[in-house]
């Protein structure tokens, strides 16, 4: 039993986001067990831990118990990690603890694992390594009788490794996502530090999560955190605090529609997130297009994520409203990224968006539509995604406009939108309604955080110059709380039934 001490040092994990939830990394000089089912990315995390050390100039030793050195090099090349180069630079070394395939192996009498320990120790000393990975414990178990003697020996080896003042990451395989922490039911006793990786399939949607079960003697984040495995390894998505201590700006910028600006008392706040909600065909993409065009006109860089329409379609729509997206892209002030939502998990999308924002450094960003991504994840996963996405934008102080194609906003029946409303600063509702044989379009500002705003429903028209917001509507286009459930295509809206 270790007494809790605030002075326990931690080493960076090398995995983006994981340092946040581990509050600084893995406990230095200790052993951490990473357990997960087959395909839960244990080996990737293990290798990335060594990579993290290497990037800080600290060599690492990879003890492989299942895969050959060559296949590990091959697998990791897929992430752009050149293990062979690290090996020749003395930054990475393998200890091959795989089963020897040359002939029979028989156990006769008592033994110890001193040879394995001696090999690891010699390699650590040769490199001056500070990190060790053993991948996996199960691979070792397969080679010996799984008796008390073997487990005691393994425990002794791991204890001896900590005498070397290295931080060790051990992997072990689990049979189920929410069952016993490990297959043999013993590995968790080997260490005071246990991390679980999950790869859960819910409603035909896959979600990867990481959970820190225990870090003896030091604090850590609790619960499951989503993570993504992408072209550059694992990225963990910490729950960012959206109410950070960053000073909010009073600076107003144009939304791209002067009438809307005046409805919210002078424009959007520079570091705010606007949500435009409405059924298909109500003008959400148009508002988004104006928002982007206004930014470009001021020389601001804009980034558009299109999840609903193809790039060509988006460009054609914009041209119909007199906006030339292609020219803006040529001028380097606009980047349109069209992605089919189903190609990746929400966590993958989040990491990709976040990386692009980091790389392109836009002043304005638009997501059209957010609701298209709801198909990819389950309720809670989507909620966390939205919160993390908004936090990502907020932390960078940029202006974001998100669209949502959900027909039941005011009814409050949509799980996602009730969460959207708490993380967004401005909510604009767009509705259309057939009144006495005429299609009428209405717009209202549902909320504007930190500012006075119009409470009226105004009618608007759309032509080749864009959206024209007019007078306060005298027609029942929308009645809060009593909107009918409209189909997603929104073309047969019968108007609210107030009877």
């Amino acid at each position: 039993m270790t007494i809790s001490t605030p002075t326990m040092r931690k080493v960076p994990t090398g995995v983006p986001g994981l340092d946040t939830i581990t509050k600084g990394g893995f406990p230095e000089g200790r052993a951490v067990v990473v357990a997960g089912t087959a395909g839960s990315a244990k080996s990737v995390m293990a290798a990335q831990f060594l990579k993290g050390g290497i990037e800080a100039g600290e060599p690492g030793v990879f003890v492989t118990c299942e895969e050959t050195n060559a296949s590990i090099r091959d697998n990791l090349r897929g992430f752009g990690w050149d293990v062979a180069a690290w090996e020749s630079d003395g930054l990475w070394a393998f200890v091959d603890a795989t089963r020897s395939l040359d002939g029979a192996s028989i156990q006769a009498g008592s033994y110890d694992l001193e040879a394995l320990l001696a090999r690891i120790r010699a390699t650590v000393n040769r490199l001056g390594a500070t990190r060790i990975v053993i991948d996996s414990l199960d691979g070792l178990f397969e080679q010996f009788n799984r008796d008390v003697h073997f487990r005691n020996e393994l425990q002794r080896v791991i204890t001896r490794l900590s005498d070397l003042r290295v931080t060790t990451l051990l992997t072990t395989e689990r049979d189920s996502e929410y069952g016993a922490p490990s297959r043999r039911g013993v590995e968790e006793f080997l260490t005071d530090n246990l991390i679980l990786l999950r790869n859960v399939l819910t409603d035909e949607k896959r979600r990867r999560t990481v959970e820190i079960v225990k870090f003896r003697g030091t604090s850590h984040g609790t619960g499951e955190f989503g993570f993504s495995v992408n072209g550059s390894g694992i990225s963990v998505i910490p729950h960012l605090d959206i109410t950070d201590d960053r000073v909010l700006t009073d600076e107003r910028i144009t939304s791209g529609n002067t009438k809307l600006d005046s409805m919210v008392d002078g424009g959007l706040f520079r570091d705010s997130i606007a949500l435009v909600s409405g059924a298909a065909g109500t003008g959400k993409t148009l508002l988004m297009t104006s928002f982007v065009a206004a930014g470009v006109a001021l020389g601001e860089r804009c980034l558009v994520f299109a999840f609903e329409e193809r790039r060509e379609q988006l460009i054609r729509n914009a041209r119909g409203w007199g906006v030339d997206f292609e020219a803006m892209e040529r001028d380097g002030l606009l980047k349109i990224v069209a992605v089919y939502p189903e190609i990746a998990t929400l966590e993958d999308h989040l990491v990709a968006i976040s990386n692009l924002v980091e790389e392109y450094r836009p002043t304005r960003v638009a997501v059209d539509s957010l609701s298209a991504l709801e198909r990819v994840g389950t309720g809670d996963g989507f909620r966390k995604f939205v919160v993390s996405l908004c936090a990502t934008f907020k932390h960078r102080g940029l202006t974001a406009m998100l669209t949502s194609t959900t027909p039941t906003f005011l009814g409050g029946t949509s799980h996602s939108e009730s969460h959207l409303s708490t993380v967004t600063d401005l909510i604009v509702l767009l509705r259309h309604s057939e009144v006495a044989g005429i299609l009428r379009r209405g717009l209202m500002v549902l909320k504007m955080r930190g500012s006075r705003h119009d409470k009226e429903v105004r009618e608007f028209t759309v032509d080749s110059l864009g959206m024209h917001i007019g007078e306060v509507s005298t027609h029942p286009i929308m009645v809060p709380g009593e909107l009918p459930q409209m189909p997603a295509d929104g073309d047969d809206d019968q108007g609210p039934d107030t009877g």
Binding site: I106, S110, A115, Q143
Partner: protein
Amino acid sequence: MQEYVFELYVAGDGLRSRTAVEVLNRMCEDRLAGRHELTVIDVHLHPERAERAKILATPTLLRRYPTPEVRIIGDLGLTRSVLAQLGVPVDGAPTVSKSQEDT
């Protein structure tokens, strides 16, 4: 090249190592009478040799020749079946009787 080539991997010169060396020496003298070559390797002094041979446990007896390789892990209780695995003559083995082996 001898008829039998053995490598015995031990850790230090503790009791377990010495027992393994003694047992193996006696077996070679009794049964192979000079037709063998035995190298004792201390993994603490030569971890790189343990690395090359992929040795995890000590003591490990590795029969290099005749091929294929055979590994005996443990302090070598030289029963008839272990001797048989090593391809060493077992007739008249004093430690294990015929009847015990059959059961």
